[in-house]
């Protein structure tokens, strides 16, 4: 086991992009500490029955313990979906290890056990423990029973952890879970059926009958060994590690011809989105961000308009941030080819910029009718945020790309244990400066004038940016040229 830990340690510290990786790691850790503290704090607050989002005295929940048992079922469903989207499956690069004189089961167990320490699991413990302490101190609950209840719930959390590993390859199952979740929520909302009445009985019984703890524990053991078995028998070069090949067909995307010189590059990007699972997920996730503004719209009372701008920037620029944030990593597997071909940097980057702009355009088109429903201000805000993304953030994303040297494995779906997650904390990190500036501009301008003028200020900034394309591109190209060699060598790295 120790050798495997050492391998992981080496692969992290010896990677070429170690500097950037370390920086991102530090930020990731700060984020983890923040969320841990939040989980603990929310645990305590929920324990007292005070609503976190709306801390009015009349909203206080009288029996927090009943409340949590009612809502746990949703928490688990959300957790599964969220895990599927965000949680990386930390499996060591296993193919090489198959031929070493290490027992297969040992390799697998190491990889699976690593997931035990995933933030998703620890976070729920950080929430549950302070919650339980508070409800215990406030009410007349039995301490022993409460401990057994905690064990049961944590066991279920771990069941979702292992389920996620197996589900990871099956998009349809997760879509079904998400669909059922939405259906039950809707049924409950329109008073057809309150599913939580039944689930509450189940979860409460873990408290009332501590013996029932054996059920989740048993299920946990069963899922754990199923995961081990799943990999144990899926791990042959010709079965588990290779997926049957889908029949290929040619795609010309003729409508792209109107983009002239850019068409040849755009065509390949469209093919990439169509044919690579990872690219497709990233693109879909970007489009999904269109709805992101709704969260801030509903929470407007708490966060105010300023955060609304933040949400709208994501709504219109989601695709640009997630997909174009991985330029040039999408071409990492054939970057040396691109660098030798008869391609001018300007054409290459411009085509990526067009793609980003296309994404912003479509997202803005989709978002504007949705948000216009809530009033003229929201419509104007969406348009202005779209323009800002177009005129300024698109350049920043491209520019930042020159420093993003993480290799994207497009064929990872061939690998049963490959990391097929369309999420990169580093690229999300880089969006912070892109968000802070417009939000601050809005905050200042709307303070002195009206919120509407605040939006216009953002829009004008973006519109000005559009006119600076030529000099800005010159700068970006210069950066790409200086970074070229280290990018090439970083892409050569495997894993």
């Amino acid at each position: 086991m120790f050798q495997l830990v050492k391998l992981q340690y080496k692969s992290f510290f010896r990677s070429a992009s170690m500097g950037g990786s370390l920086f991102a790691k530090i930020f990731a850790w700060l984020g983890i500490i923040y969320f841990t503290l939040m989980a603990i704090a929310i645990g305590f607050i929920h324990g007292t029955g005070i609503s976190v989002l709306n801390p009015d005295a009349d909203n206080k929940i009288e029996f927090p313990f009943e409340w949590i048992n009612e809502n746990l079922i949703y928490a688990f469903a959300y957790w599964i979906v969220l895990r599927y989207i965000l949680q990386k499956i930390p499996i060591v690069n296993i193919r090489q290890l198959l031929l070493t004189p290490m027992k297969k089961s040992k390799v697998i167990r190491f990889a699976v056990n690593r997931t035990n320490f995933s933030t998703f699991n620890l976070m729920s413990i950080f929430y549950l423990v302070p919650f339980s302490l508070t409800v215990y101190s406030m009410g007349d609950l039995d301490s022993n029973k409460l401990i057994f209840w905690n064990i049961s719930i944590i066991a279920i959390v771990y069941i979702t952890n292992y389920l996620n590993i197996v589900l990871n390859k099956r998009d349809s199952l997760v879509l079904i879970i998400a669909g059922v979740l939405i259906l039950f929520r809707a049924l409950e909302y329109w008073d057809f059926l309150d599913f939580t009445v039944y689930s509450k009985i189940i979860f409460t019984s873990f408290y009332n009958q501590p013996v029932l703890v054996l059920i989740p524990i048993g299920l946990l053991a069963y899922t754990y060994y199923s995961v081990i078995r799943f990999f144990r028998f899926g791990l042959y070069i010709d079965t588990g590690l290779q997926v049957q090949v889908a029949e290929a067909s040619q795609d010309d995307f003729k409508f792209l011809n109107r983009f002239g010189e850019m068409a040849k590059f755009l065509r390949n990007d469209f093919r990439l989105i169509k044919r690579s699972k990872r690219a497709r997920n990233t693109a879909l996730m970007g489009i999904g961000f269109v709805l992101y503004g709704l969260i801030f719209l509903w929470a407007q009372d708490i966060y105010g308009d300023t955060m609304l701008i933040f949400g709208y920037l994501f709504s219109t620029g989601g695709f640009m941030f997630t997909f174009c944030g991985l330029v040039p990593s999408w071409d990492s597997q054939h970057y040396s080819f691109m660098m030798c071909q008869n391609i001018k940097y300007i054409d290459y980057l411009k085509s990526k910029w067009y793609l980003g702009c296309l994404g912003i355009g479509i997202a803005t088109l989709l978002a504007s009718p949705i948000y216009a429903y809530f009033g003229l201000f929201h419509f104007v805000a969406i348009i202005c945020c779209g323009v800002y993304n177009l005129g300024l953030n698109s350049y920043l994303t491209l520019w930042a790309g020159a420093f993003t040297k993480s290799k994207v494995d497009l064929d990872s779906m061939k690998n049963a244990m490959g990391d097929s997650k369309a999420f990169n904390s580093k690229t999300l990190l880089l969006t912070i400066p892109q968000m802070v500036v417009p939000v601050v501009v809005y905050l200042v301008v709307s303070k002195f004038f009206t919120p509407m003028i605040g939006c216009f200020a953002i829009g004008i900034l973006g519109a000005v940016g559009v006119f600076f394309r030529k000099p800005v591109f010159k700068l970006i190209i210069q950066t790409y040229k200086t970074e070229k060699y280290s990018t090439l060598s970083a892409y050569k790295e495997t894993n």
Partner: protein
């Protein structure tokens, strides 16, 4: 003409390439031999501006490859799989390279008819993306793509490795035909002395980054090279 002036590459004190001067005339079939780590790929990479040399400059038809991108219009290469776009079908890949080199679809199709033998019905018209082809077939795709669009300088790193005997023989024929053209310079590297001597008319032997031999091919060349590598 290709000129390497005082090119060297050093990775933390270890020099992997040190070529004082090397000139390759247009129309030459240039072969590069040497053991693993001799610097063959490094030399080609400096020509293609894929790595930054520690000293010196490379001129490709009087264009400094590091300061201008103009050499890209008449130079093509296939070094390894990173020259393939896995998610494209072979046809799409050929058309894409054609577009970059101002070849119409029709011209690419005509061009590809010469390679029907080489492809052996396994590449064109199949229902596979390049990523799903076998290693050997991937290599064929990469090499043929490097020949599209009448490039004047063609760089092939280890083109014969991992190919089956029939394909090797066909490929040698293709390379020989290419180098017959007056203005086309072909640069080939290989471990296999026989392959290299067969296709090139000038052979340079690299060892630990240094040029040990630089010879015009004669009937004795293969023997010479073999005796060099067998010496203690």
């Amino acid at each position: 003409m290709i000129k390497f002036n005082n090119i060297s590459k050093t990775y933390s004190k270890q020099t992997v390439l040190d070529v004082e001067s090397l000139e390759i005339q247009p129309g030459q079939a240039f072969g590069l031999v040497g053991n693993n780590g001799a610097g063959k790929t490094t030399l080609f990479s400096t020509l293609l501006d894929l790595i930054k040399p520690s000293t010196g400059e490379v001129l490709n038809n009087d264009i400094n490859v590091r300061t201008s991108e103009d050499w890209k219009s008449f130079t093509s290469a296939f070094l390894d799989e990173s020259f393939l776009i896995g998610y494209l079908m072979p046809e799409e890949y050929f058309y894409f390279v054609g577009e970059l080199r101002n070849f119409s679809k029709k011209q690419v199709d005509d061009f590809l008819t010469d390679f029907e033998d080489l492809f052996n019905n396994e590449i064109l018209g199949g229902k596979k993306y390049i990523r799903d082809l076998s290693k050997g077939n991937q290599k064929k795709v990469g090499i043929v793509a490097a020949l599209i669009g009448d490039p004047k300088v063609i760089v092939l790193d280890e083109p014969f490795a991992n190919l089956d005997p029939t394909t090797q023989i066909r490929l040698k024929k293709i390379i020989k035909n290419l180098s017959k053209k007056e203005d086309v310079t072909v640069l080939v590297s290989s471990h296999d002395l026989q392959d290299v001597t067969e296709v090139s008319d000038r052979i340079v032997l690299l060892e630990k980054g240094l040029i040990i031999k630089d010879i015009k091919k004669t009937t004795k060349t293969l023997k010479d090279l073999e005796s060099y590598f067998t010496k203690e």
